[in-house]
C-alpha cells in the first residue's frame, strides 16, 4: 500500500498545480496548458456501463462541456461487461497511457479492485484527475398496499417483527446488499432480498407491486415519485438532500454514522500518462465542472456535490479516504482478509 500512497500523492500534487494557476478567462488558461501535439485525435471517455445509464449520462454531459471549453473532440465509448469488471480491467491493464483515454468511473471500481481483481491490477493503476458528482443510495417505498405511508423506522421494525416477509430489491455484490446487511446486523431485522440486475429494475418491481422496498438513485425514481407511485424513505448520505428535504438520512433516523453509501463519480487516467497531458485533461475537466449550465444539468439528475471532494486540492487522498472506509467494511464483514 505504500507504493500506492506515494503514487496517489504525486497525482495530487500534479493536479493541484494547474488548479491553482488559473486566473481569469478559463478558455485562455486552458489553452496555455495545452501540450504540444496533443490532442491530434479524439479523446476517448471510457464508460464501463451500458449506454443510457446514470454513469453514461454523466460522462456524456461532461464530454459535451469539456468539448465546449477545450475545443477538443471527445468521444464517449461504452466498454461493458461483467458489471464493470471488463472495462475496469481494460483501463487498468490495457489502455495506452498516452492521454487519449480517460476513464469516467464510479467508486464501484474500488470493490472490483479490492475483491475481484485478484492481483491483476490495483487502484494505483488508475490516477484520479477530477471529481464529478455523487449520488446517494435511497430507499423508496410503495404508495399502495400494507406498507404504504410507513417511515423507514416502521418498516425496519416490521422486518424485525415478521422476519423474512418484507421484500427488498437488491443488487447482489454491491452497496445495495451491503446496506441491507448493515441494517439487519444492527437492528435484528430480516428482509427478504430479491435480486435484480440494477436499481432501476427493482424500482420497476416496486411500482408493479412485486417488492415492498426498492433501492436506487434519484434519477431512477424521480419520474415515479412525481407521479405519486413511490414514496422516499431514507437516504444513505451524511446530510439531507436539497431536492428532498423531508426525507431523513439513515444516520439521523438510527442514530448511527455507518450508513453512508453513495456512488462517487470521478475521472481517471491510466498510470503512466505523461504529466503535462494529465494536467491538461484535469484542467479541462475542472473548467467543464465549473460551467453553470453543466452544474444545473447535473442537479436536475439529482446528484449532489460532495463538499469534501469538490475543488479538492488533494483529490487522490480524499478519494482514498472513502476507499479506505470501504475497505474497512469489507474487512469487518469478512469479505477481505
Amino acid at each position: 500500500m505504500k507504493q500506492g500512497a506515494l503514487a496517489w500523492t504525486l497525482c495530487a500534487a500534479l493536479i493541484a498545480t494547474p488548479v491553482a494557476a488559473q486566473s481569469g478567462d478559463p478558455k485562455a488558461d486552458l489553452a496555455k496548458l495545452k501540450p504540444k501535439d496533443f490532442p491530434t485525435q479524439p479523446i476517448e471517455f471510457t464508460v464501463v456501463y451500458p449506454a443510457g445509464g446514470g454513469m453514461d449520462v454523466t460522462a456524456r454531459l461532461l464530454a459535451k462541456y469539456v468539448e465546449k471549453w477545450s475545443g477538443d473532440r471527445v468521444i464517449v465509448n461504452n466498454r461493458t461487461g461483467g458489471a464493470g469488471m471488463v472495462g475496469h480491467s481494460y483501463l487498468a491493464t490495457q489502455a495506452k497511457p498516452d492521454g487519449y483515454t480517460v476513464g469516467v468511473l464510479a467508486n464501484l471500481v474500488w470493490g472490483d479492485a479490492m475483491l475481484r481483481a485478484q492481483g491483476r491490477w490495483s487502484l494505483s493503476d488508475l490516477e484520479p484527475i477530477g471529481y464529478l458528482n455523487s449520488d446517494a443510495l435511497t430507499w423508496v417505498g410503495p404508495t399502495e398496499g400494507p406498507y404504504k405511508g410507513m417511515s423507514v423506522k416502521d418498516i425496519v421494525q416490521a422486518a424485525k417483527d415478521k422476519p423474512g416477509t418484507i421484500r427488498i430489491a437488491t443488487v447482489p455484490g454491491s452497496m445495495w446488499e451491503y446496506i441491507v446487511e448493515q441494517i439487519e446486523a444492527s437492528s435484528g431485522a430480516k428482509f427478504l432480498r430479491v435480486p435484480f440486475q440494477g436499481g432501476g429494475a427493482g424500482i420497476t418491481a416496486l411500482v408493479g407491486g412485486n417488492v415492498d422496498v426498492a433501492q436506487g438513485f434519484y434519477s431512477e425514481f424521480r419520474g415515479h415519485l412525481e407521479a405519486g407511485k413511490v414514496a422516499p424513505l431514507a437516504v444513505a448520505a451524511a446530510t439531507r438532500m436539497d431536492f428532498l428535504k423531508d426525507m431523513p438520512t439513515f444516520n439521523e433516523t438510527f442514530g448511527a454514522s455507518e450508513y453512508l453509501w453513495q456512488v462517487i463519480r470521478f475521472a481517471i487516467v491510466p498510470k503512466g500518462t505523461p504529466a503535462d497531458r494529465k494536467a491538461y485533461l484535469a484542467a479541462a475537466i475542472h473548467a467543464a465542472m465549473k460551467d453553470a449550465e453543466l452544474i444545473a444539468e447535473y442537479r436536475k439528475a439529482g446528484v449532489y456535490f460532495d463538499p469534501k471532494l469538490t475543488d479538492s486540492t488533494r483529490l487522490a487522498d480524499d478519494l482514498g479516504a472513502y476507499a479506505e472506509a470501504e475497505r474497512q467494511f469489507y474487512v469487518k464483514t469478512g469479505r477481505l482478509k
Partner: protein, 146 residues
C-alpha cells in the same frame, strides 16, 4: 467418422460441465444455486451425445470428404480472420484490415496481387470513413497514427 468424434466430444463436454456445475452448488436455502441450470443442461448434452453415438439418426445427405483445395480455402478464411483478431490491437484496424483483406482475396480465388492490394486499401478506407466519419466510431489505431 467426424460424427462419432463430435458425439464423443458432446459426452466429454457434458461430463466436464456437469462436474464443474456440481462445484457451484445445486440447491441452496433460497432455491436453486448457480450450478443447477448448468448441471441440467450439461446432463442433457451428455445424454444426447450418448444417444447419438448409440443410435445415429439417418443423415439427410451422404457425407463427402472435402478436397484439399476446399480445405485450403476454408483455412484461408480462418487465417484471415485470425490475423485480424491478433493484429488489430497492435497494428490498428487499417493495417490489420488491409492485410486480412489481401489474405482473403488471395487464398480463396486467386485475385491478382495488384487487384487484392487495391481492393484492400479501398475497402478499408471506405469502412474507416463510413464508421469513423459517418457514425463516429473509433476503430483502433496502429503505432503510426491511423
Amino acid at each position: 467418422m467426424l460424427e462419432r468424434a463430435l458425439n464423443a466430444f458432446w459426452i466429454l463436454l457434458g461430463a466436464a460441465a456437469a462436474a464443474y456445475a456440481w462445484t457451484l452448488g445445486i440447491v441452496g436455502p433460497s432455491g436453486p444455486e448457480s450450478g443447477l441450470f448448468p448441471l441440467i443442461a450439461s446432463l442433457i448434452i451428455l445424454s444426447a451425445g450418448v444417444v447419438l453415438l448409440v443410435r445415429p439418426p439417418a443423415r439427410l445427405a451422404a457425407p463427402e470428404p472435402l478436397p484439399a483445395a476446399a480445405l485450403a480455402r476454408i483455412g484461408g478464411v480462418v487465417a484471415g480472420l485470425a490475423v485480424m483478431a491478433i493484429g488489430m490491437p497492435y497494428l490498428g484496424f487499417a493495417v490489420a484490415g488491409a492485410i486480412t483483406m489481401i489474405i482473403l482475396l488471395r487464398t480463396v480465388e486467386r485475385t491478382s496481387w495488384a487487384g487484392s492490394i487495391a481492393l484492400a486499401v479501398i475497402s478499408v478506407a471506405a469502412v474507416l470513413w463510413l464508421f469513423g466519419h459517418g457514425l463516429g466510431m473509433v476503430l483502433p489505431r496502429g503505432p503510426w497514427g491511423f
